[in-house]
């Protein structure tokens, strides 16, 4: 037997996911589609926030959603109440969405919406703050949600998802008083793991703080539309 030999590989483990995500990003850029990926624990209120957000933005933009859950189509049904189309991905035991889910969903959803015609594609990820942090989906913006019921130290417990996200939304602010929610402590926790991260405090139930969030997201969508298709996109 020959002695063992070392063969250099030097490749990112998630190369395939990242390449597919980059392909999606190019495709979205070609058609001026802004893509936002929403992550949180189960029960933080992603679907409620997104139903509200889509209902508000559907007059101004062509909006659609892809929603990932382990099982059931319940969340897509709830999101459709916004008036915008929503396509359900059932991951069947996978704890996160990968870029191949998005590619397949876009193809499968063509009877509900055509991605080329969209201004804003919302991706509601599987409720999970750990596994979702490793996979690029080709998005422009990753939003992490935390509710007032989850404790002010939640960002310190899940620093990786905060490191990976761009914006934080604090949900269920209508409960803040009853829960004696400590705004300053939560802000300090976020700032410790992601200095300078923009934070929106909202309640999808009462509409509290929603104007600032909607204005921010609409601004980002318009910003992308204003960018001319880069020359390298064929």
């Amino acid at each position: 037997m020959n002695p063992p030999k070392l063969i250099e590989i030097r490749k990112n483990i998630l190369k395939k996911n990242d390449e597919l995500a980059q392909g999606l990003r190019t495709r979205f850029a070609t058609h001026g589609v802004f893509v936002a990926n929403f992550v949180s624990s189960p029960g933080t209120g992603k679907t409620e926030l997104l139903k509200y957000t889509m209902a508000r933005l559907t007059e101004r933009f062509a909006v659609a959603a892809i929603v990932g859950d382990v099982e059931t189509e319940n969340d897509a049904i709830r999101l459709r109440k916004s008036g915008a189309p929503a396509y359900q991905v059932e991951t069947h035991n996978m704890c996160h969405l990968e870029s191949f889910h998005i590619e397949k969903a876009i193809a499968a959803a063509s009877s509900q919406f055509r991605v080329e015609e969209l201004d804003l594609l919302i991706v509601e990820n599987v409720g999970n703050l750990v596994c979702t942090s490793a996979f690029d989906l080709g998005e422009d913006l990753q939003v992490v949600l935390v509710s007032t019921t989850e404790g002010e130290d939640k960002p310190l417990k899940y620093p990786k998802i905060f490191d990976r996200s761009d914006v934080c939304i604090l949900t269920k602010m209508d409960l803040a008083e009853a829960l004696e929610f400590d705004h300053a402590q939560m802000r300090a926790s976020i700032d410790a793991v992601k200095p300078g991260m923009p934070v929106f405090e909202v309640s999808a139930k009462t509409g509290l703080g929603m104007d600032a969030w909607i204005d921010y997201l609409a601004g980002r969508v318009e910003e992308k539309q204003a960018v001319e298709t880069p020359a390298w996109v064929s």
Binding site: I7, I9, N12, I13, L14, H96, S133, F135, P159, A192
Partner: protein
């Protein structure tokens, strides 16, 4: 994708192990022999737990030429750059507070710790039967 055959992927490290095996099998298409070990680099901020990855490894390697291979993980701590002090710091294990340990300024520049990379594989090449 092979991942679809597995019905229990609650641990995303199994997805990651499967992707690593796929990549290695492709890369070794021109090499013969069996894989003894695989060297992987995992950053503390990569979202991957080394112990879970080791746990998933044997399952991911089953029925491939990596079956029976040993996974060797090089763990990379988080290194940050403080603009104010103009110096680099290594954050202690499991402490992801992005603040300079010297001047306490907030730090946003992460120099290392997000790695998730296959470095190399150790391969035993059997001598061809004609050589005997």
């Amino acid at each position: 994708m092979r991942g679809h055959n597995y019905r229990s992927l609650y641990m995303h490290e199994l997805s990651i192990a499967l992707r690593a095996v796929e990549t290695i099998v492709e890369d070794l298409a021109d090499h013969s022999g069996s894989v003894l070990s695989v060297q992987i680099r995992v950053g503390a901020l990569s979202g991957v737990v080394p112990d879970s990855l080791r746990f998933a490894w044997d399952v991911a390697c089953a029925d491939t030429r990596l079956s029976g291979s040993v996974l060797e993980i090089e763990e990379v701590p988080v290194r940050i750059w403080c603009e104010a002090c103009q110096c680099e710091h290594t954050l202690p294990d499991a402490d992801f507070v992005f603040r300079c340990p010297r001047c306490a300024a907030s730090v946003t520049e992460v120099m290392a710790g997000r790695e998730l990379e296959i470095l190399s594989v150790e391969l035993t090449e059997h001598e061809s039967p004609q050589a005997h």
